[in-house]
């Protein structure tokens, strides 16, 4: 029985994979043929082959060449990671303080709600004024976008603690700090990670937006430059690089999540 079910699971995985490949192949071939038959100009819609050439060209440049993707990606990644770390650290810390201290919650929550309703990318020009055209404004934008999903999810995690567990810690006369560190914090981790998974996507988004508005390096910068010279194939190639980057970042988060909240069966379902 068990053997049959694992086999059928394997078979269904293979089937899903094969369907995916077939779908992608159909799309690419259809795209290539459509561009040729309909005589669409390259600057409107490049052929997949054109995109491929642009991608290979961009990736073949040396990491020190501003014309290549590596040079630009390094800057984008750096800002994304710094922004993510700062934004998530702040988000978790503020959420913990809000959950632990009622007055902090009352003090801060109106601003959180207010900020939530603001399209936060609209702050980007302000950050350029404050932090200039270097990496600082990108980090600030990235951190700002990371902060909110991490804060709100963590807050939910820190607030939902089981009465039995609280009584267990209380019966040992545990201090507030001990109760937080031994019980509330680990118990909240599934929620924190749900926030971090969103946060990593938002931090990349924040960096790119900041690069659009005003920066000297980064994938956002090269995309604007390619757009100016109507190198649409190059734009597509840059988008593929960004998608791959996002995928890698999300995969790293999933790996960390599986490592730290291995005990929580509910998480993987909750954020699926």
């Amino acid at each position: 029985m068990a053997d049959r079910s694992t086999r059928s699971k394997f078979a269904s995985t293979v089937a899903t994979f094969a369907t995916g490949i077939a779908s992608l192949a159909t799309l690419i071939v259809g795209w290539q043929l459509a561009v040729g038959f309909l005589d669409i100009p390259q600057y409107v819609l490049p052929t997949p082959l054109g995109v491929w050439h642009a991608l290979v060209a961009g990736l073949s440049e040396s990491p020190t060449s501003p014309a290549g993707f590596w040079y630009q990606l390094e800057s984008t990644l750096k800002a994304t990671i710094f922004g993510f770390l700062i934004g998530s650290a702040l988000g978790i810390a503020i959420a913990a303080l809000m959950a632990e201290f009622r007055f902090v919650q009352k003090f801060i929550f109106p601003y959180v709600v207010g900020f939530q309703s603001l399209p936060k990318v609209a702050i980007a020009p302000l950050y350029v004024i404050w932090f200039g055209y270097q990496i600082e404004s990108k980090v600030a934008m990235s951190a700002t976008l990371t902060l909110f999903p991490v804060l709100l999810n963590s807050l939910e995690g820190f607030s939902a603690t089981e009465r039995d567990r609280l009584e267990l810690l209380a019966s040992l006369d545990a201090s507030r700090w001990q109760t937080f560190w031994f019980m509330k914090f680990p118990a909240a981790l599934p929620f924190v990670f749900a926030g971090l998974n969103l946060g990593i996507v938002y931090s990349l988004l924040g960096t790119i937006v900041a690069e659009f508005i005003g920066a000297q390096r980064g994938m956002g910068v090269i995309i604007t430059q390619l757009q100016m010279v109507a190198d649409t194939a190059g734009v597509f190639a840059a988008l593929i690089v960004l998608a791959a980057t996002g995928y890698v970042l999300i995969s790293i988060m999933r790996f960390l999540q599986a490592h730290f909240v291995f005990w929580s069966g509910a998480t993987s379902e909750a954020d699926r």
Partner: protein, 283 residues
């Protein structure tokens, strides 16, 4: 009104203590006394609920005392007040000559569910009180391993709780409650969530653990049979408001065998308590 030491195991002649303050049993010294303890939920308006009404309990050193009563008779509330988790609305609780104002370090609690933390291994769970109390970890680890072996969990110390059955988890929880060598063990329907067979085995197991450690145990249950089997003394409570209606001294020699439960003398206790509760409790 001391009747301790009275050992007349015959029906109709049961050693009975009324609802008044109970004196010290035998030569044992008093470990804990609760005097005229009340608990009212709500702010005294028409919606407030009187969970406990003038309850007097005395626990002597090394004594095994059970509380039986219907659901909602306030027995869990009583335990939580004794544990110092919540303040009583009236009356005093005295532990080793001191007023209980907050949880005492000399107490261990077993809840109805194991309450093991799923991100810690069994051994880490067992050592949680040691971490909180900042006691000697090396000595506690050794003790924890011995206790785990004693409850039949040797080899499971590095497993996570999810890998253990409900009964095994509850045994780990019992080990956790013993790890810091408490003088008083408070157990709130610890076997409530277990199936009948596991429950029977755990009852015998608990007696064995108690005989080896001789802690004072305050045991909450709704199983009359369990209470009579395990206890030196059974306190019977009624519901709404929660009151003590009677206390029974249980004289049977230890260790008690589960076959005892089928004997007439044993059955007489069970029957009388059941009649007091006016229920067809499953025992």
């Amino acid at each position: 009104m001391s009747v301790a030491g009275l050992r007349k195991p015959y029906p109709g002649n049961l050693a009975v203590v009324g609802a008044g303050p109970c004196a010290v049993s035998g030569q044992r010294s008093v470990l804990l006394s609760a005097t005229r303890v009340e608990k009212v939920y709500g702010k005294g308006g028409p919606d407030s609920v009187r969970a406990l009404d003038e309850v007097n309990v005395t626990l002597s050193d090394g004594e095994f005392v059970s509380v039986v009563g219907p659901s909602g008779c306030g027995k869990s509330t009583l335990m939580k007040l004794i544990a110092g988790l919540y303040p009583p609305s009236g009356g005093t609780i005295n532990y080793r000559g001191q007023d209980v104002k907050k949880p005492q370090r000399g107490m261990g609690i077993v809840f109805q569910t194991p309450v093991l933390l799923p991100w810690l291994t069994i051994l880490e769970n067992v050592l949680l009180p040691i971490r909180v109390l900042k006691s000697d970890k090396a000595a506690a680890t050794e003790r924890g391993m011995k206790l785990l072996e004693m409850v039949g969990l040797a080899g499971f110390q590095n497993k996570y709780p999810s890998a253990l059955s409900g009964g095994m988890q509850q045994r780990a929880a019992i080990v956790r409650s013993l790890i810091h060598d408490p003088s008083l063990l408070l157990m709130d329907e610890p076997f409530g969530a277990l199936d009948a067979l596991t429950r029977e085995r755990m009852t015998v197991e608990l007696q064995r653990i108690w005989l080896m450690n001789k802690k004072t145990v305050f045991f909450i249950t709704h199983s009359i049979l369990e209470s009579v089997f395990l206890s030196d003394r059974v306190i019977v409570m009624s519901a709404r408001p929660g009151r003590i209606i009677k206390e029974f001294e249980i004289p049977f020699a230890r260790p008690r065998d589960f076959r005892l439960t089928t004997e007439a003398e044993f059955g007489a206790y069970v029957a009388e308590i059941r009649q007091l509760l006016g229920t067809t409790n499953d025992g």
